[in-house]
């Protein structure tokens, strides 16, 4: 997946200012950066939910930014997990997963149910198949959203701050599922503020600020010894928050 010189403005506000990013097949990239730095916009551009003003995006050899490209075909191969409200509240957990399989991917109903059960087992929620989303906790909802993204067997998995709308005590169960998913070899781009997670999982950490990539590299470089001043300041702010609420150490993932 490649992003080349991406520009996007909302009115006078320029969110992306010539951002470029290349992700190799199978690579796990974690994007960090302050709010408003253009991370979400970047992810939405990748699946064509937001149209960039300038620049190009390629997934495999398909140019997503080409107006002639069928975005449906692009989206069929990309899993996307939003920050919140991922699930359709009028459908059961099972239907949430089978609906896109049946209606978008043309999978027969019974087969879709099998796939749904398999991915639900993977996120540990097979007993919730017949529940409605509003009956689940926020963390469980996000796990179902991840299961749904996995169900289509994506080439690329994008996650836009999947834990940042959650109550603190629910974050770890979602991170745990994300860790497990990250071992499957899917190309992943994850936007998150969970620095520990980034250190564990990422092949590469990308720090975005002001609509451009400021610094990127393996986690031990970017997180442990950042070169750029802006990266250092950002990490200091994030880590201070963590020190104030030492949740990350309190619960050891099993």
């Amino acid at each position: 997946m490649s992003v080349v010189n991406l520009h996007k403005s909302y009115g006078d506000l320029e969110v992306l200012k010539g951002l470029s990013l290349h992700v190799r097949s199978g690579e796990r990239v974690v994007i960090i950066g302050p709010s408003g730095s253009g991370k979400s916009t970047l992810l939405k551009c990748i699946i064509g939910l937001v149209k960039p003003d300038r620049g190009d995006i390629y997934i495999d050899d398909v140019r997503v930014t080409d107006p002639k490209t069928n975005l449906i075909e692009v989206r069929k191969r990309v899993g996307f997990v939003f920050q919140s409200n991922n699930l359709f509240y009028h459908l059961t957990v099972l239907k949430n997963i089978t609906l896109p399989l049946v209606k978008v991917h043309g999978v027969p109903e019974e087969e879709a149910v099998e796939v749904a059960m398999k991915v639900l087992r993977e996120v540990g929620l097979e007993d919730k198949v017949d529940s409605y989303p509003a009956e689940l906790s926020g963390g469980q909802q996000q796990r179902v959203a991840i299961a749904r993204a996995l169900a289509i067997n994506p080439r690329l998995l994008l996650m836009d701050e999947p834990t940042s709308a959650l109550d603190p005590e629910l974050i770890d169960e979602v991170l745990e599922v994300m860790r497990r998913v990250s071992r499957r070899g899917i190309t992943m781009i994850i936007v998150t503020h969970e620095i520990d997670f980034a250190e564990d999982v990422a092949d590469r950490v990308v720090f975005i600020d002001g609509g451009v990539v400021v610094e990127e590299g393996p986690p031990h470089e970017v997180i442990s010894s950042p070169r750029e001043r802006r990266t250092r300041e950002f990490l200091r702010r994030i880590l201070r928050k963590r020190a104030a609420a030492p949740r990350c150490w309190a619960v050891a993932p099993d």
């Binding site: 939910l49 989206r75 359709f88 009956e135």
Partner: protein, 230 residues
């Protein structure tokens, strides 16, 4: 009390005319159900067009709504029954009443449907699109099922209003409940009893509808739905 002395006679009279009024009521229900169903179909189509990205479709829908909403139902009925024959369209009152009231209700239902559609958060649409759904699928599988549940009370309200407004069909000679009552009065000269009973019939139907609406809402309720969107 003169009235109390008269009461047994009044009740007896009412019972004697009830079967005739009942036929009018049945016709009122026929007009009500058919025109509501027609309005519902029109309402969904128009409501969806109204929010569509196509400027032309949205303009057509808006024009329909504005024209209907900006003119009285009474005038619409009179125009369709007495005016249209001048351009060769001649239909019996039983059909004109259903078509005109249906067309009228469609405009109001379109606005209800539109408000329902617009109450669904943008996030849900983005999620549906991100899964690869076409716009028509987003509407059909994600937006409308949620929107329609939310607008049940408003639709029932419209249905109740429509039942009452169907009394206007009496002006084009359709023998619905109100016209039926007027007819009986012209033969018996007893407006007190007749109109009282006519009103009671309308009330019974409308009250039953409100109760039915509650049951319907309960039937289609999704556990926890109303605390879903924070």
């Amino acid at each position: 009390m003169i009235f109390l002395d008269l009461l047994p006679e009044v009740v007896k009279f009412m019972i004697s005319i009830a079967p005739f009024l009942l036929r009018g009521l049945i016709n009122t229900l026929r007009i009500g159900l058919l025109s509501f169903a027609m309005g519902f179909g029109l309402g969904i189509v128009t409501g969806v067009l109204r929010v569509s990205k196509s400027k032309a479709a949205s303009a057509v829908a808006a024009t329909y709504v504005e024209v209907i909403r900006g003119t009285p139902l009474l005038v619409q009925l009179l125009f369709a029954y007495f005016g249209l024959p001048f351009i060769g369209i001649r239909l019996p009152p039983s059909i004109v009443s259903v078509l005109v009231i249906g067309l009228n209700s469609g405009a109001y239902q379109a606005e209800i449907v539109r408000s329902g559609i617009q109450s669904i958060p943008q996030e849900q649409l983005d999620v549906a699109r991100s899964l690869g759904m076409r716009e028509s699928q987003v509407m059909r599988y994600v937006v409308l099922p949620q929107a329609l549940r939310n607008i049940i009370p408003a639709l029932v309200n419209e249905f109740v209003a429509l039942i009452k407004e169907s009394s206007l069909a009496s002006v084009i000679g359709e023998i619905e409940l109100t016209r039926c009552g007027e007819y009986i009065i012209s033969r018996t000269f007893r407006p007190f009893e007749v109109f009282f009973l006519v009103a009671l019939f309308y009330f019974t139907v409308c009250y039953a509808l409100s109760r039915l609406s509650g049951l319907l809402e309960k039937r289609v309720r999704i556990p926890g739905y109303f605390r879903a969107y924070r």
